[in-house]
C-alpha cells in the first residue's frame, strides 16, 4: 500500500534531455566572458527524457488532491470550484511584456481598471490596487497605507494596531513588518470582539484595528458599527481582512461597515485556483482619504480616455513588488465576476452560508461546537465527546482522508482548543455535504467501537503520518546524491 515515488534525481540518466533548441544561427564568438566569471563545471541538474519527465509529474499528480478530486472544506481558504473557462482566458495576454509601451498594454490597463471598479462596488470602497500578490502581501500593503496616512498628518505617535485574538497569524506578522506594535483584543465567550476591552485598549497610540468579518470563528461581528465608531473616534482606521468575504458578497459591504482599507484574496472569494499554495492575488481597496498613498502606478481613467497607469503619486508608499500584480490571476477573477454578475455573486455567498450551516446543523449533535450560533460560510467544531475516547482533531482529520475528503483546517483559530474549521463553499452539492456529514458521523461511531483504527488513519494514502519531529530536528531540504563508491 505505502510507496514512495522516485525523485527526478534518481531517474536522471547522463545524456538524456527533454527539450531541444534551434541551432546557433549567428556567428559564435569566443572569449565574450572572462574566465573568472564563467562556470567551471556543468550544472548538476537532472537529465530526463520527455516521456520520463511527463510520467514522473503525472505520477506525482496522482499523489495529490485538489478541488477537482473532491470536497476540500479547508476553512478560511475558500476552496471553491475553479471554473475551467477562466483557465483559458489569460492565454491571450501571455505574450505581453510588462514593459511594452503604455499604448501597447491598453487591454491590460482596461482590464485592471474594470476589475477595480467591480471590486469597489462589491466592497463599498473608492479605489483598488492590484499590485499585492497575495493576502498577506495585501495586509502588509494596507497597513503601510495606514502608517503613511498617519505619518502625513504628523500623527507619528500612532504605532499600535489592534488585532483580535482569533485573527490569522499573518495579521500580527504584517503589522510588525509595517512598523507597528500589535495589541491583542480578546474575544467574548460568544465569539464577538470584547467591546469593553476594546474601549480600554484604544487611545492616542491607536493606528487602526484589523478585523476579519465574518471572523475566523465563522461568525458575523454583530457589533461592527460600534467597533468602527470606537476605533474612528480614537483616531484610528479600520482594516478589513477579506479572507472571509465569500460569506457576504452582495449582502453587506466592508465599506458600509466603516472599513477604510480592505484586501481581498482573489484566489478565495473570486475562485482563481490556489495553485498548490499560489499564485494568488491580494487586491487592496481603500476609501477616498487613503487613495494618495496607494502603491504606484494607480490605473486611472481621465476625462473619458482609456485606462492608463499613473506614476505621478507623490504621497505613494512606493512599490510593493515589480510590475503591476499577478495579472493572469486578475484575469481569472475578472472573468469570474463577469460570469456571475451581482446576482450570481450574492447567490454564491448565500449558498456558501447555507452549506456551512447545513454541515454544522448535522454535526453539532456528535461533535462539539465552538459557538452555537448561526454561522456564516464556515463553522468551527471540536471533537467534543470524542476527546474522552482519546480521539483528537488530528485523528479525525486523518480519518476523513481515508473517507475521501480533504480535512478541514485544524487547530485554528488558536482560541478554540482542538478546532476543526469546515468551509464547504457554495460549489458543493447536497450529496457531497451529506457524504461529508456521513463520514464525520462514521468517525464518531468508530471512536466508540474501535478508536485505535482512527489512530492508524490514514491507511489509504501512499504514506502514513510523517515524522514531523525528525524533519524539523534534522532538516533535509534538498536531495544530495550518495557519494559514488
Amino acid at each position: 500500500m505505502r510507496s514512495s515515488a522516485p525523485l527526478l534525481f534518481e531517474l536522471s540518466k547522463t545524456g538524456r534531455r527533454a527539450a531541444d533548441l534551434p541551432p546557433m544561427d549567428v556567428p559564435e564568438l569566443d572569449g565574450l566572458l572572462p574566465e573568472e566569471l564563467v562556470a567551471k563545471e556543468p550544472l548538476p541538474l537532472p537529465e530526463m527524457s520527455e516521456v520520463e519527465l511527463i510520467r514522473h509529474y503525472t505520477r506525482l499528480s496522482r499523489r495529490n488532491f485538489g478541488v477537482d478530486n473532491g470536497s476540500y472544506p479547508l476553512g478560511s481558504c475558500t476552496m471553491k470550484y475553479n471554473p475551467k473557462i477562466n483557465e483559458q482566458l489569460p492565454a491571450c495576454f501571455n505574450k505581453l511584456h510588462p514593459l511594452l509601451d503604455e499604448l501597447d498594454l491598453l487591454p491590460v490597463w482596461e482590464l485592471m481598471h474594470a476589475l477595480g471598479e467591480l471590486l469597489c462596488e462589491l466592497c463599498g470602497m473608492d479605489q483598488f490596487t492590484h499590485q499585492p500578490a497575495a493576502g498577506a502581501h495585501g495586509e502588509l500593503t494596507g497597513l503601510m497605507l495606514i502608517k503613511a496616512y498617519h505619518d502625513t498628518r504628523l500623527d507619528h505617535e500612532r504605532n499600535e494596531i489592534l488585532v483580535p485574538d482569533a485573527a490569522h497569524g499573518t495579521n500580527p506578522a504584517s503589522a510588525a513588518l509595517a512598523g507597528f506594535k500589535t495589541i491583542e483584543v480578546p474575544s467574548t465567550a460568544d465569539g464577538d470582539v470584547d467591546i469593553e476591552a476594546l474601549k480600554a485598549l484604544v487611545g492616542p497610540r491607536t493606528a487602526g484595528l484589523m478585523l476579519t468579518n465574518p471572523s475566523t470563528l465563522g461568525l458575523f461581528e454583530r457589533n461592527i458599527l460600534e467597533i468602527s465608531n470606537i476605533v474612528h473616534d480614537a483616531g484610528g482606521l479600520l482594516y478589513y481582512d477579506g479572507a472571509n468575504m465569500n460569506a457576504i458578497m452582495g449582502i453587506a459591504r466592508p465599506g458600509d461597515m466603516g472599513f477604510d482599507v480592505v484586501h481581498l484574496n482573489l484566489h478565495k472569494t473570486l475562485s482563481t485556483p490556489h495553485g498548490g499554495g499560489g499564485p494568488g492575488a491580494g487586491s487592496v481597496g481603500v476609501k477616498k482619504e487613503l487613495i494618495p498613498y496607494l502603491p504606484a502606478p494607480v490605473i486611472l481613467k481621465r476625462h473619458g480616455g482609456p485606462a492608463l497607469p499613473d506614476y505621478n503619486r507623490p504621497l505613494s508608499i512606493g512599490r510593493v513588488k515589480a510590475f503591476y500584480g499577478n495579472f493572469s490571476v486578475l484575469v481569472k477573477a475578472y472573468a469570474y465576476v463577469l460570469s456571475l454578475g451581482g446576482a450570481g455573486l450574492k447567490q454564491a455567498s448565500e449558498n456558501a452560508v447555507l452549506n456551512a450551516n447545513y454541515v454544522q446543523h448535522h454535526l453539532k449533535g456528535e461533535f462539539g461546537l465552538a459557538n452555537d450560533r448561526v454561522c456564516m460560510h464556515e463553522c468551527v467544531l471540536t471533537p467534543g465527546p470524542l476527546l474522552e475516547r482519546g480521539i483528537h482533531t488530528t485523528d479525525i482529520a486523518k480519518a476523513l482522508i481515508d473517507r475521501g475528503f480533504h480535512p478541514p483546517t485544524i487547530y485554528f483559530p488558536l482560541i478554540v482548543p482542538e478546532a476543526m474549521m469546515f468551509e464547504p463553499t457554495e460549489t458543493e452539492t447536497r450529496e457531497n455535504l451529506d457524504e461529508l456529514i456521513a463520514a464525520m458521523l462514521d468517525i464518531a461511531e468508530v471512536s466508540k467501537t474501535d478508536p485505535e483504527a482512527l489512530h492508524r488513519a490514514p491507511e489509504t494514502t501512499p504514506i502514513g503520518r510523517p515524522d514531523e519531529t525528525r524533519a524539523a530536528r534534522n532538516p533535509v531540504v534538498r536531495f544530495v546524491a550518495e557519494p559514488k563508491e
Binding site: Y411, E468, T469, A472, R473
Partner: protein, 122 residues
C-alpha cells in the same frame, strides 16, 4: 521530581545559582507542554540582557516559546550541544542548561523554590 537545588520562575525556567553565576534552563513542565523540541536559538556569549528579556527561543513542531531571564546579566557560556541535539531538553531538562549568566546582585525575592513551583503548576 522537581530538583530542590535551584529556583524557578512562573515562566517555567529554572535557575541554578552559584555566587554570581547562574545557569538557566527550562523545567520538565515546560518541555512537556512544548512537546518535541526541534530547535533552540541560543544567545551569543557576551550578549547582555535586562531582567525580563528573552534570551533564547525554543521551537517545537507547532509552537515557539521565548525563554526569559528574571535577572539582568551577561551570557558567559551556552550549551552548544543543544544546536545538534535540541531533544536533550525533552530528555533531561534539569541536566541540560541553555545558558550561564554572570549577574550582579541576585534578587531571589521573585523566584520560587521547588515546592512553590510545584504548587504553581499543579
Amino acid at each position: 521530581m522537581t530538583p530542590t537545588d535551584r529556583k524557578y520562575t512562573k515562566e517555567h525556567e529554572w535557575l541554578l545559582i552559584s555566587g554570581n553565576e547562574v545557569k538557566m534552563g527550562i523545567t520538565d513542565h515546560a518541555q512537556s507542554e512544548l512537546g518535541d523540541i526541534v530547535f533552540v536559538e541560543l544567545p551569543a556569549v557576551g550578549d547582555s540582557f535586562a531582567a525580563g528579556d528573552s534570551f533564547a527561543v525554543v521551537e517545537s513542531i507547532k509552537a515557539v516559546s521565548n525563554i526569559y531571564t528574571p535577572l539582568a546579566g551577561a551570557v558567559v557560556s551556552v550549551n552548544d550541544a543543544l544546536e545538534d541535539k535540541p531533544e536533550l531538553l525533552n530528555e533531561a531538562p534539569y541536566e541540560n542548561f541553555i545558558a550561564v549568566f554572570e549577574v550582579g546582585q541576585v534578587d531571589e525575592s521573585e523566584l520560587l523554590d521547588a515546592a512553590a513551583y510545584e504548587a504553581f503548576i499543579s
